[in-house]
């Protein structure tokens, strides 16, 4: 069983829906027509490219190429994470990259070896989409974790100093902030897991069902994916924040406030 193809005429008819969309936006003076056109254009170009090169990457299916592709995805995730945290984090690029890469590599190989049990663990059509799923979520949670960590650390600086002055190391004094930041960052994942299937079908399942999979198989994948996403994000969060504690304070253990304001 395969997904029903979308023909050229079908694609064009689909794109035609943009016309009434633009019209509505224009009539209601919502003012984002230009932005929408740019977004649609970017989507067409970006996904067009992705479609073409994924096709070749899947055909080639070379372990090194696949790994290199993952490294690139992690790099883009790290860059985007830093930009979106509105922190001046030049110092945090390498740590962020590492905090995203290490858990992702571990989890993806565990997924391939132990869960799906495929022979070729670098198999492109599993490695790349699954890594993409994990990174997407990790990126979101790491941004929240970083932002809340530095927010709390700034707001609760007196508590931090009080603990520091009564015997705590930098790590011990910052631990309450780390815990709070992880709780905040992981909360949406918990909520999603607890309500999955009630409102909408999650992405992986939808994709597989559209692709012709048996719903039970789709459900199995969905459950596994949610678990590895949660695991991966949590691990990456913790690493990210440990690096933040390492880099975010000076050698007198004072919060490095230059990190906080965007230049």
């Amino acid at each position: 069983m395969n997904a029903a193809d979308i023909s050229i005429s079908g694609l064009l008819l689909g794109l035609l829906l943009i016309a009434p969309t633009l019209l509505i936006i224009w009539r209601l003076k919502l003012g984002f027509n230009q932005k929408l056109l740019v977004a649609v254009g970017r989507m067409l170009i970006q996904l067009g490219f992705v479609g073409v090169y994924l096709k070749y990457i899947f055909l080639l299916d070379n372990a090194f190429v696949n790994l290199a592709y993952i490294l690139l995805m992690v790099l883009f995730a790290a860059l985007s994470g830093i930009r979106n945290s509105s922190l001046r984090l030049k110092k945090l690029l390498f740590p962020t990259f590492t905090a995203m890469l290490l858990p992702t590599l571990f989890t993806i190989f565990y997924f391939n070896l132990a869960i799906v049990q495929i022979d070729h663990i670098f198999q492109a059509n599993i490695l790349i989409p699954i890594a993409g799923l994990m990174l997407g979520n990790t990126l979101k949670t790491n941004i929240v974790a970083l932002k809340s960590f530095f927010n709390i650390a700034q707001k609760e600086e007196k508590t931090y100093l009080f603990l520091l002055a009564n015997g705590a190391t930098k790590n011990e004094a910052a631990r309450p902030f780390l815990k709070e930041a992880i709780r905040t960052a992981m909360a949406p994942n918990l909520a999603t897991m607890a309500t999955v299937g009630l409102v909408s079908l999650p992405g992986v399942m939808t994709g597989q069902i559209l692709g012709g999979s048996d719903p039970m198989l789709a459900v199995k994948y969905q459950i596994m994916v949610m678990i590895i996403i949660f695991f991966n994000s949590l691990l990456s969060n913790i690493l990210q924040l440990l690096f933040a504690i390492r880099n975010g304070f000076d050698n007198r253990d004072q919060l490095n406030k230059e990190l906080l304001s965007k230049a």
Partner: protein, 206 residues
């Protein structure tokens, strides 16, 4: 024990300390009673190594306080900040966490010992189950005193440590300071602190 040698410190555009010299011997009790905004808290921060002086040196046990030595110095200090900034959480757990710090693990701490202090300071046992964010200022200060007495360090840095207490409660802690052999530096405007054996300092600009 603690020595300020020609120390100057400027924060923003305010000169807080200028060529400041102070020699505190072991067991001395020093009261910093200058006007507010004159750098009393900054002086404590300098000893804790939170700030570096612009000029001059600060010695702790004959060694200059540097980024290499601050951790060793901090391990010999107990500190009460103005608002006694306990972290958010249940009082009993906050205490347990603090005594779980590597530097504090050697201290013989137990809930029983904390309860003894609560009794001594007229705090109800129920406070152990309360969150630190809802207890009153006076209760916080007494809990802070319980903490630093249990930490049992050789140096106490106290920033307005009795500001939320009535006269009777104040006297208990003033007596404690007067009779301890610890080295104490206390910031307070309150004239009740200006008694023997406190050495009062009112200006930091030479």
């Amino acid at each position: 024990m603690i020595r300020f040698k020609n120390v100057s410190l400027q924060l923003g555009n305010k000169q807080l300390l200028k060529n400041f010299n102070l020699r505190i011997s072991k067991g001395d009790k020093v009261l910093l009673a200058a006007e507010s905004g004159t750098g009393k808290t900054s002086l404590l921060r300098l000893i804790l190594g939170f700030n570096a002086p612009d000029e001059g040196r600060i010695l702790f046990n004959k060694k200059v306080i540097t980024t290499e030595t601050i951790h060793k110095v901090r391990r010999q200090i107990a500190y009460l900040s103005q608002d006694v900034d306990f972290p958010n959480g249940k009082v009993s757990e906050v205490f347990k966490d603090i005594f779980d710090f590597e530097a504090n693990r050697h201290i013989n701490f137990s809930e029983e010992r904390l309860i003894e202090k609560l009794d001594e300071f007229n705090l109800a046992h129920e406070i152990l189950n309360k969150n630190t964010s809802i207890i009153s200022g006076g209760e916080r200060q007494r809990l802070g005193w319980a903490l630093i007495q249990l930490l049992d360090r050789s140096v106490l840095l106290l920033d307005e440590p009795t500001s939320a207490m009535d006269e009777k409660q104040k006297q208990r802690f003033i007596d404690f300071v007067a009779n301890t052999n610890k080295t104490v530096i206390c910031v307070s405007h309150d004239p009740v602190w200006q008694i023997e054996p406190m050495k009062t300092i009112t200006s930091f600009i030479a």
